[in-house]
């Protein structure tokens, strides 16, 4: 009210000058806030992301050293064979099994593996969970999907432009490019099969799939959360590859 009364007593040119000064300060303040916002998001959060990645390495090494690997299931991949040994009358029956190896489920927010995409120079520590604090540390695995390296559809989400920007260049990945995931289980290699752009509500990309798949999700386009960029890759090598193939063959036999 005091300001209003003072303003009313001013001459017309002074009113214009005062209004321009106020407008100038408002614009300078908004500009400074925008600069601070982008500096915070694109510089400060990336420093935090890099620090979280470095800090995760000891815990990751400990998991690699202590995680107990178990055989969860086996599928015979050769039918029993009877062999007569020429020197005697002994017969041997040999059955070769494909085993599905499992590792303990990681605790939420903890590191449990590494993801690398050599074609775009990506190499990051993987964390369990896709909640806001976890994704600030690095790419996160959706806990309600299988772990990478397991049969089914393992989903990993990551930031595109902030907090270390792990998936900044994900749009440059091409079909056939390798995605290498290392966990306590060993190293699983995936080959990129498709890249699609969907709406943030298209949760079908996380649904169960035949075989062993890795689905990467990130924001699209860069500097916007309007869409999601999805990269889906199929397991082509790894501790469970033989099991996945055996499962596929069994499915084909049952279908025919």
């Amino acid at each position: 009210m005091v300001f209003r009364r003072r303003f009313d007593t001013l001459s017309a040119p002074m009113k214009v000058r005062r209004s321009l000064r106020v407008a100038g300060w408002v614009m300078v303040t908004v500009g400074a806030l925008l600069v601070a916002f982008f500096a915070y998001q694109l510089v400060f959060t990336n420093v935090l992301g890099a620090r979280s990645q470095r800090a995760a390495e000891p815990a990751l090494e400990e998991r690699y050293a202590t995680a107990e690997i178990e055989v969860a299931d086996t599928i015979p991949i050769t039918p029993p064979t009877t062999t007569t040994i020429p020197e005697g009358t002994t017969t041997t029956t040999q059955v070769v099994d494909a085993a599905r190896y499992t590792e303990p489920t990681p605790d939420m927010g903890t590191p449990f593996g590494e993801i690398a995409i050599p074609s775009i120079g990506l190499d990051k520590v993987l964390f369990e969970g896709v909640d806001v604090p976890t994704l600030k540390k690095g790419p996160g695995h959706m806990p309600w999907t299988p772990l990478p390296g397991q049969p089914g559809n393992a989903v990993v989400s990551g930031h595109r432009t902030t907090y270390g920007a792990p998936f900044f260049d994900l749009d440059k990945v091409e079909n056939g490019d390798e995605i290498v995931v290392t966990t306590a289980l060993g190293t699983s290699v995936y080959a990129v099969r498709r890249t699609i752009i969907v709406a943030p509500t298209d949760v079908w990309v996380t649904e169960e799939m035949q075989g062993a798949w890795l689905t990467l999700t990130t924001c699209n386009p860069k500097y916007s959360a309007r869409q999601r960029l999805i990269v889906q890759a199929e397991l082509v090598e790894g501790p469970n590859y033989l099991y996945v193939e055996a499962e596929r063959q069994r499915g084909l036999r049952e279908a025919s």
Partner: protein, 54 residues
């Protein structure tokens, strides 16, 4: 700033403490505002989390 300093009650030590407190509160509020606004820039690539978890 000078006008604000003069308007604050108490001795200079208290005035400085109050200004430091105000600056800290403003920084925390700015951090919260930037975090909220950052969701429009990059959510981390998650897909409609609420509908997935329910």
């Amino acid at each position: 700033m000078r006008r604000l300093y003069r308007a604050l009650p108490g001795p200079p030590v208290v005035k400085v403490a109050v200004i430091v407190l105000i600056v800290l509160v403003v920084l925390v509020l700015l951090g919260l505002l930037f975090e909220w606004a950052g969701q429009f820039l990059d959510t981390g690539g998650t897909l409609a989390l609420l509908s997935l978890q329910t």
